[in-house]
Amino acid sequence: MRSKFFMITAALIVFSMILGACAPAPAPTTGPQEPIVQTVIVEGTPIVITATPPPAEPPAAGPKVLNYPTGGPGDIPTLDPSLASDTTSVQVLEETFVGLTRLDETTLELKPGMATWESEINDEGQEVITFHIRDDIPWVKYDAVSDSVVQVQDCEGNVRMVTAHDFAYTFLRTLDPATGSPYAYVLHGIVGAEEYNTADGAPEDVAVEVLDDYTLRITFKQPAAFNPFIAGLWTGFATPKWVIEGDDCNDPRGDRWTETGFNQSYGPFVMKEWIHDAYLDMVKNPFWPGTEAVPVPKIDMVHYVMLDAPPAFAEYEAGNMDVSNIPLADMDRVMADPTLSQEVNIGPDYCTYYLGFNTKAPVVDDVRVRRALSMAVDRQALIDNVLKGGQEPAQWFSRPGLIASPTMETHPDLGIKYDPEQAKALLQEYLDETGQTADQLQITYMFNTSAAHQRIAETIQQMWADTLGITVNLVNQEWQVYLDTVKSEDTPQVWRLGWCMDYPDAHNFITDNFRAGGSANPARGGVPYGGVNWVNEEAEELMRQAMIESDPAKRVDLYAQAEQILVYEDAVIIPVYWYTSVTVTKPYVTRTFGVGGQEHWEKWDLNK
């Protein structure tokens, strides 16, 4: 009996040893340690990890801690500026780094970030922008031993300042095909960038030149209003080459450089700890001097918690989160709640929800059908009854508010609107011509698997059935397959996508998506392949002119014409709505409301 018990105990011990072996082995140089505090030496960098879990609520009179949920399930995908492509990653990056230029998150005004700049057109008609970088920003990191933010020193013991070299390094790293950056394409406007990124161009040919430690010159192929924006995007944040690639006194960390303990940055906040799938803590950077666009933070720490929207909102209601999005499911209740309704804010969010047509697919290859379907969507009813977030019915694609986008004030009748009568008439015309009845039409409407998209699809399906008598077939696919399908020769007749801004210019919307080879209009060897499957020379020309035009008013006009072709004349897509963000904020939070998906917490304050 005893021996058997021993065997089982032994088996359990062996089992736990196997699992125990999973942890990185501590180096033997570690001296005797306090039993409670776990110290793991990872390559000579001792990280003391206190065993107590993070405080759920900020201490009353202690440091100001902002509890902020990500609003989506799962981990932050990456903290590498060269690799980031999603809003949660970018949110952290924007607070831990600052670009050459910095966008005001509320006004979309471009302000100096790490640099001031001047622009000129060179002989070849290219735009050359020279950036004068601040010389007072040191690289910093969080030091676990002293529980404070310290300045990074080089191998000689000097404080490392952020220099033009660091920026240039990032630009080239982003463009390096080996990096596989999903967002490198935004930099393709830089001379030599596209060639390096996607063909056999050389890095030396990329027109990002370091003139001196604090001066950087970037040459863009064409002049465009949005070039400085692009230079300030996260794909161009300075990154610490010595951590990534190593130097005399640092081991190379490769893609791991973003992890707790290795991460170095220079922005208003510094990453302290990243517990994957759980939370990421950022602390105030005491070495950030404060600039016009990026002031010294008032709050001491941001506890950025990875929570799906419903649990995040529950935490908000429980008083553990200071801000939250409102899940659609809770909207009615929140609006009726006397306290919560006072805390609600509905602001614009620079995204557009649209349905695309495969203009080469049966039935929808006729523009009258497409226009009829578009006109039969009662966008306001959808918003009022299903979406409930105060969204705006979209009449065209480029969301108003972007630079060079038409607005409802200037172009109230641009694009397409709900018009059931005309929709019926258009469809009838088509039916008469082809000798069909509405219920014979076979249309598939595909969306990626998601409750929200499903609701919209179901509603629109019903609207089409009610107005036009067409019953479409709803099919959903999971994201990875869906993207493949939508951008293949098998693109379904109707599909959905959304678009959010990278930089606030209509170009980023209509041109980046719908020019031949654009994101939603992919082409292979110049031939449309999937997506909307659309070629329109006139629209192409309008978009090209709009890009290089320098007169803002003329640009708006050009884009308005292109939009009219896109959504009405050719009715390639159905613009459905323009996004809003619906948030609740605790009354003690002083905050700004970002319109581009990011918040600048350095402008926030807590007054508990």
Binding site: M335, A381, E478
Partner: protein
């Protein structure tokens, strides 16, 4: 004296009624007093015996009745449901009838009262009750197809393995062992992803096209069934094998072999009829598992195609609303729970009824 009257029957069976050992005795109790009166012996197969015992089990009867009602409701969905399941009245979205406000008073401040829908309407104004009625299709068909597929594959596989034994058995069971090490739900997800995308938009006229047409016609249920069936048969195969092995050693099988019966005859005439009971019980008890698998698939978005309702998808949609409009989660969940209750009770009852140790007892 009197001996003659009592000894009329020289053959020994004359007086005895029937079994001594616990068996459903239906004999003339007062046989000794009644002299040579012929006895009423009702012959009863094991199935009848099981049925009778099942009928005496109140919980099982209730469960069985509920299941019958559910299936009737499913078949008569068009008659029973007041609205088509996809009929939206956008303005009535999330509306509730007055009586529900008394049940869930928290809804008072914001709920829109529309009495047209007895259980309320969902987020696009579709009648919840109608959707529950139509939604029963998925769960209840899963409840049939799941066991069917797993029985067909599992019993065939398990019987071959158990009957031939030896090396064949060894190899076949190792295969099952390894497949067992697969997380079945992940296997289903992989399969579903595979089916969903492979059969998404095939060329007309091909086999995949017809399969996808069939799936579309079933509102996307086909692949769920296949996925569930392909993972569920292993339990059945193991059980079947075990049963076959135990019955194979029974003397009556030996007797049949001594008579020169062929393998087929032994399998189909002697072994299979004797293992059907435990297999049926096991499948009945597995049905709730199939139903909840479907619900889980719906939750992660691999369920039926909208707007086809299924309880699983309704629950996962409703669950997000549980604070705001609890009715949208509670009623489909209730429907699911009742169905699972019913199948569980029926399964328990069947198990008791078919348990040979309990044969002939209460």
């Amino acid at each position: 004296m009197g001996q003659t009257t009592l000894q009329t029957d020289s053959d020994p069976q004359g007086h005895d009624g029937a079994a001594v050992q616990a068996s459903p005795v239906t004999i003339d109790v007062n046989q000794f007093g009644a002299g040579g009166k012929p006895l009423h012996v009702k012959s009863e197969s094991a199935l009848q015996d099981a049925m009778r015992r099942l009928v005496r089990n109140k919980a099982a009867v209730v469960g069985g009745s509920i299941i019958i009602i559910l299936y009737v409701v499913m078949i008569l969905a068009d008659v029973i449901a007041p609205y088509p399941y996809a009929k939206q009245t956008l303005v009535h979205q999330n509306s509730v009838p007055q009586w529900l406000l008394n049940v869930f008073p928290t809804m008072q401040p914001y709920a829109q009262v529309v009495n047209d829908y007895i259980l309320g309407a969902d987020y696009v104004g579709r009648d919840l009750f109608s959707r529950i009625v139509y939604g029963s299709r998925v769960s209840l068909i899963v409840a049939i197809i799941g066991p069917l597929i797993s029985l067909i594959i599992g019993v065939t596989y398990g019987s071959i393995s158990g009957f031939f034994g030896g090396k064949v058995d060894n190899i076949m069971m190792r295969i099952v062992d390894v497949l067992y090490a697969f997380p079945s739900i992940l296997f289903i997800i992989l399969l579903m992803a595979f089916f969903r995308s492979t059969f998404a938009r095939p060329d007309p006229g091909t086999f995949t096209y017809y399969v996808s047409q069939l799936d579309n016609a079933m509102g996307g249920m086909l692949f769920i069934f296949i996925g569930i069936g392909m993972t569920a048969w292993m339990t059945m195969a193991r059980l079947t094998r075990g049963q076959v092995l135990s019955v194979r050693e029974k003397e009556f099988v030996e007797a049949a072999r001594a008579l020169g019966a062929s393998n087929n005859r032994i399998m189909f005439r002697h072994i299979l009829p004797n293992i059907v009971g435990p297999l049926v019980v096991s499948e009945t008890l597995a049905i709730p598992g199939y139903i909840s698998t479907e619900a889980f698939l719906s939750f992660i978005g691999l369920g039926v195609n909208p707007p086809t309702p299924s309880w699983g998808s309704m629950i996962s949609e409703g669950a997000q609303m549980i604070r705001t409009y609890p009715n949208q989660a509670v009623f489909p969940a209730l429907a699911l729970a009742i169905t699972m209750f019913a199948f569980n009770f029926l399964g328990d009852g069947l198990r008791d009824a078919l348990d040979p140790r309990l044969r002939g007892t209460q």
